[in-house]
């Protein structure tokens, strides 16, 4: 189904920064988490272009905004909890309101932060970031798309929130032929009975769930939706019409994230039943990354089960 190769998308972020450093003249800010966000890899290669802001994420976001006003390309990095959570107001007012060209690299999103527990498991960042006018929100599924997303973010003029994970996930895309387009959903597998729209680490789980459904004679389509905003409403509407039922899957609260975004699209364009798989209005907990994910229903098993329930309810 997909290769054995696994990479955490935070590693992809660090690698991409180094790989793109000669092509694009950007600087990188971090708030004392360079070793974890993997901007440390960039720091090592380009020490003159890396600036630690210390543990002061709000300050970092406003500094990034100031840098951007001068035309200098800039990344600002921290954990999702602090980039989108603590610094929300700075991201909104310093970066979003003037629509400045700041790229926010937010790692350690979702419950697969694992052992650190609820305080560090941000399940609200997509919801927060997508309410900021003009903010592009991207949550890539694997190493290939994550690296490509970093370059795609550099190519557009405006704020971008890039969401990366801590836990290694399978590589899904072919390195040679992959092309990332902001705002595009990728049909990884076609199907006619139900559509699974997933983002981030739930994409590989959705492909696994598809195989389980296939064994039950259910033909499920799987769409990878790396861009949550602007969302690919065309493909969602097309598959709402084609399959009549949608499961959404995300490592995020079911409130305000991908599930909500998909519901907004189908409600306004082509209403069909939707079931949202994600963190169900609760906080996380400590444990190993995928054990925690499983407990919160972020798993191939749960996507499979919810798909079965949705089909049963609507046939």
């Amino acid at each position: 189904m997909f290769s054995e190769e696994k990479t955490a998308t935070r590693d992809s972020y660090g690698k991409a920064l180094v790989a793109l450093a000669e092509k694009y003249n950007f600087v990188v800010l971090d708030a004392d988490l360079a070793a974890a966000t993997k901007t440390g890899v960039f720091k090592k290669a380009y020490p003159d272009r890396f600036f630690d802001c210390g543990i002061a994420e709000g300050n970092m976001m406003s500094i990034a905004a100031g840098i951007a006003t001068t035309g200098q390309l800039v990344f600002a990095s921290s954990f999702a909890m602090f980039a989108a959570g603590r610094a929300f107001e700075q991201v909104r007012n310093s970066i979003g309101y003037p629509h400045l060209n700041v790229k926010i690299g937010a790692t350690h999103a979702g419950v697969t932060v694992g052992e650190d527990g609820a305080t560090h498991q941000c399940n609200e960042d997509i919801a927060l970031m997508r309410t900021i006018p003009g903010m592009t929100v991207i949550n890539p599924a694997d190493d290939v798309s994550a690296q490509a997303a970093v370059e795609a973010a550099l190519k557009i003029n405006g704020p971008v929130y890039l969401r990366f994970g801590r836990a290694p996930v399978p590589v899904l895309y072919d390195r040679k032929n992959y092309k990332f387009e902001i705002g595009k959903g990728y049909v990884l597998a076609d199907g006619k009975d139900i559509t699974i729209v997933a983002t981030g680490i739930t994409v590989f789980m959705s492909l696994q769930a598809r195989e389980m459904l296939k064994a039950d004679g259910i033909d499920a389509a799987v769409i990878d939706m790396p861009t949550i905003k602007p969302i690919d409403s065309k493909i969602i509407t097309e598959y709402a019409k084609k399959t009549g039922k949608i499961i959404t899957a995300e490592e995020h609260s079911i409130i305000g994230g991908l599930g909500s975004a998909v519901c907004e699209v189908v409600a306004e364009n082509y209403p069909v039943p939707v079931k949202r798989v994600g963190v169900n209005d609760t906080f996380g907990t400590s444990g190993k990354a995928f054990e925690v994910a499983e407990q919160y229903g972020i798993s191939a098993n749960n996507i499979y089960e919810q798909a079965k329930i949705l089909i049963k309810q609507n046939t």
Binding site: V27, R49, F51, C53, G54, A56, G58, N59, M61, S62, I63, A64, A65, G66, I67, A68, T69, T70, G71, Q72, V74, E89, Q90, N93, S94, Y97, P98, H99
Partner: protein
């Protein structure tokens, strides 16, 4: 400072004060107190200190200015109008639906505004970013930012202060408008953010304390900032909130209230008389 130069600056400041009153009165909304307290500083900045060209407001080599205490936008707008960035007549549209003169500075729509601001504590960080970018790109422009004394209660001000000293941003000059009053009362009663000089010194800054309404002081302070290498400078400018309008002076109720018609007429009369007396 030469007498002629000083008189010119005093007249400019008086015009800025008239512009502030005009804007706030017509909007029936806004923040006159803290705008009037920085009028002399703004006059000096835009007519003596800052390297700018109103004909080319986005010039890459220009000095930058961030009004970190963004609620005193009437002072910035009146100054920009006085300097020729846009017609003075437009000040009457301040805070009105459809006007580009937003309640708080908006860099997207207002010529001469280098950074959107208004949420306190954010502007000084943005100024740090501009100053750092100048260092990264070996540009010699300078960055100025005006802070409120009440604004210094925001923790982010001190995060920015730490950052500026750590990266030796000697191309950054902050002016702290020490008028002693905030919305809820005297700053000393609200939470007591002073002493500013010792705090900034402890954070690694060059500090200069001046009378915000004395142009000799202002001139010397900016010269000291330029001469200081390896550290950012903060000018602690002791000011009178509401300066120039008798009934507004040192009254915290004029922090965010607009004058009524009669009060407006008194303010205009006083400021015009002051102008004529220079």
């Amino acid at each position: 400072m030469e007498d002629l130069q000083k008189k010119k600056l005093m007249k400019t400041a008086a015009n800025i004060r008239l512009g502030i009153i005009e804007a706030v009165y017509n909007a029936a909304s806004g923040h006159p107190g803290g705008s009037l307290s920085i009028a002399d500083i703004m006059a000096y900045l835009y007519f003596e200190e800052i390297n700018i060209d109103p004909e080319n407001p986005k010039a890459e080599s220009r000095d930058r200015f961030v009004l970190s205490k963004g609620h005193t936008s009437p002072a910035l707008y009146a100054t920009l109008a006085e300097r020729g960035y846009f017609p003075k007549e437009d000040l009457k549209t301040f805070r009105k639906l459809g006007s580009y003169l937003q309640g708080h500075p908006d860099m997207k729509g207002i010529p001469g505004v280098d950074m959107s601001s208004g949420s306190l504590g954010l502007g000084i960080s943005a100024a740090c970013g501009m100053a750092l970018s100048a260092k990264i790109n070996q540009k010699d422009y300078r960055v100025y930012t005006v802070l409120g004394d009440g604004e210094s209660e925001e923790g982010q001000v001190w995060e920015a202060a730490m950052f500026a000293a750590h990266y030796k941003l000697d191309n950054l000059c902050a002016i702290l408008d020490f008028n002693g009053l905030q919305i809820d009362g005297p700053i000393a009663d609200v939470i007591g953010p002073a002493p500013f000089d010792k705090k900034f010194e402890a954070f690694g800054w060059n500090t200069v304390t001046i009378d915000a309404h004395n142009f000799d002081d202002i001139e010397k302070a900016f010269a000291s900032a330029k001469a200081c290498k390896g550290k950012p400078t903060v000018i602690i400018a002791k000011s009178i909130k509401g300066k120039g309008v008798s009934y507004m002076e040192n009254k915290c109720e004029w922090h965010g209230a607009a004058p009524k018609k009669e009060q407006y007429e008194i303010a205009v009369k006083e400021l015009t008389e002051a102008y004529n007396a220079i």
